[in-house]
């Protein structure tokens, strides 16, 4: 074993959605690769990407769309997606009232409390609505004015008939009887590179080897998540979620696992990338049509799985 190398990782938020990362941390997969990880939460995509671009972090865990926004502005040293962590959207459609057999068309004429404009959840949300022939502008009242952290409060206090929520918010709502998960945006949208690990181009050129080891550890985490059952996973990651009850964690993991939100390997596919571009384009937020190989490095992920 060589000397351990320290990598600074900035994550965009702390979420059950990123379970494989926490598994890799708590099960010691990084140490096995001779890596020591400094994990900092830089709340929000802008802060995370800024930390990466300004050299404050070696690796960023952030929505892939951010790399496209950056590339759209002639970045000199662009952020490259080198390992996938999640491969679908992570939000769920929660209804205020119990619905027996949910049809998307039921959304028509209701008030839908969505996520904020410009972010992936909002774009996927609208994309899915359109796929079900619902025009988000005319067929329903779409509220997009509430900050991520305050959406549950707004819904719980009576705003909207439907709401788009992440886990463990959705599980908590169900448990408390405040709402019922009726559909999953992740399941509807299909595979997209949703949250990925990124490094700067220069970093990849300089220290590809460390990134490969990093991706290997992530791969181990992903395999662990794939193979173990939800409660084992929940127990493994509990240290990263203080004060969240184990049953909520388990149910959240379960839900993401079921719909295949967790990528089972770090490899990003061109097909999924095209879906991402299509979704962004549909939402009118695509600044530039960026080719797959310009922003994605598959070599690292491939080598890491060997």
């Amino acid at each position: 074993d060589g000397p351990t190398e320290t990598l600074e990782v900035a994550e965009v938020t702390r979420s059950v959605f990123y379970a494989p990362l926490y598994v890799a941390l708590s099960e010691g997969f990084f140490e096995e690769e001779g890596l020591s990880i400094e994990l900092t939460t830089t709340w929000g995509g802008d802060k995370t990407m800024t930390a990466l671009l300004s050299g404050g972090a070696d690796i960023a865990l952030v929505g892939s769309e951010t790399s496209i926004y950056v590339a759209g502005q002639e970045a000199t040293d662009p952020a490259i997606n080198f390992a996938a962590l999640t491969q679908t959207d992570g939000t769920f459609l929660v209804a205020r009232d119990q619905v027996d057999s949910f049809q998307w068309s039921e959304l028509k004429g209701t008030t839908f409390l969505g996520q904020r404009k410009g972010g992936m959840p909002q774009m996927v949300g609208e994309f899915v609505l359109k796929q079900h022939n619902i025009n988000p502008r005319t067929d329903l009242t779409l509220l997009q004015n509430v900050d991520f952290g305050n959406i549950p409060s707004a819904f719980a206090s009576g705003t909207g008939d439907y709401v788009q929520l992440f886990e463990p918010q959705a599980s908590t709502f169900e448990k408390e009887g405040l709402g019922h998960v009726v559909a999953s945006f992740g399941a509807e949208s299909g595979r997209v590179p949703y949250t990925s690990f990124m490094a700067k181009q220069s970093m990849i050129e300089k220290d590809e080897e460390a990134l490969i080891r990093f991706a290997s550890a992530i791969y181990k985490g992903q395999q662990y998540v794939k193979n173990e059952d939800s409660s084992t996973i929940a127990m493994s990651i509990q240290d990263y979620f203080e004060d969240t009850e184990l049953d909520i964690l388990t149910s959240a993991v379960e839900r993401y696992k079921d719909q295949g939100s967790y990528a089972t390997d770090p490899l990003l596919t061109e097909e999924a990338w095209s879906t991402l571009l299509a979704i962004m384009d549909e939402a009118g937020e695509l600044p530039l049509h960026i080719p797959f190989d310009e922003l994605v490095n598959t070599a690292i992920a491939s080598k890491s799985m060997e």
Partner: protein, 265 residues
Amino acid sequence: MNPTKLHEQFVLEKKKEKRFVRITQITIIVVLIAIWELASRLAWIDPLLFSMPSRIVTLLYEHITAGTLWIHASVTMFETIVGFLLGTIVGTCLAALLWWSKRLSTILDPFLVILNSMPKVAIGPILIVGIGPNIGSIIAMGMLVSVIITTMVVHTAFKEVDENYIKVLQTFSASKKQIFFNVVYPASIPVIISTLKMNVGLAWVGVIVGEFLVSKQGLGYLIIYGFQVFNFNLVFMSLLVIAILATFMYIFVEYIEKKMTKYSI
């Protein structure tokens, strides 16, 4: 030298000094902007993160011609003014209440101190639950940021009114209400006005934070959206507009201050 000439010379020098100050200020701005532009263009700093004055101005121009700037700016301006007025008025009324009952003020004092050091951002959910996810919450945030500090400062001013003025009224057997409206309140107007100046700044901060929590439009919304789509040009443009508007509001308050405090105690 005769007085008229001395005065003329003095006025001339004053004018010169004023011109010098203005020129220096403009120079500072121009130089800073030039350095910024240059540093960005030559990639000493990452133009992605720091934007570039030329880009900001271009964007501003686009927003002006498209008419969208007006919408965002007027919404935020409205919220700020209402939040500012509410913060000042409610704070002053609370201060009056505390002045009225010394006992009440002793009892409430520690609560005020604690409230003052609470991060107001954290009570976002309570606002949203109480008022709903709408403009009301934003205004409430703009008010909340300034109301406690206004209460404390104005209450101190009320307490510090020279008690001899109060005694003058007492010799005429004035009631407590008469004392408040004839001495305490008018004597504190200068302090109230000077807290206005501070509140201008605080109300802006509060409203922008409020727009971070809930908003469809407004300059805070533009900032958050800019962050969301990693477009820092938009962020800097919004900050520029805020700076301009805040300056105007400050100048206006200063003007009122000059008008209202012609006398001095």
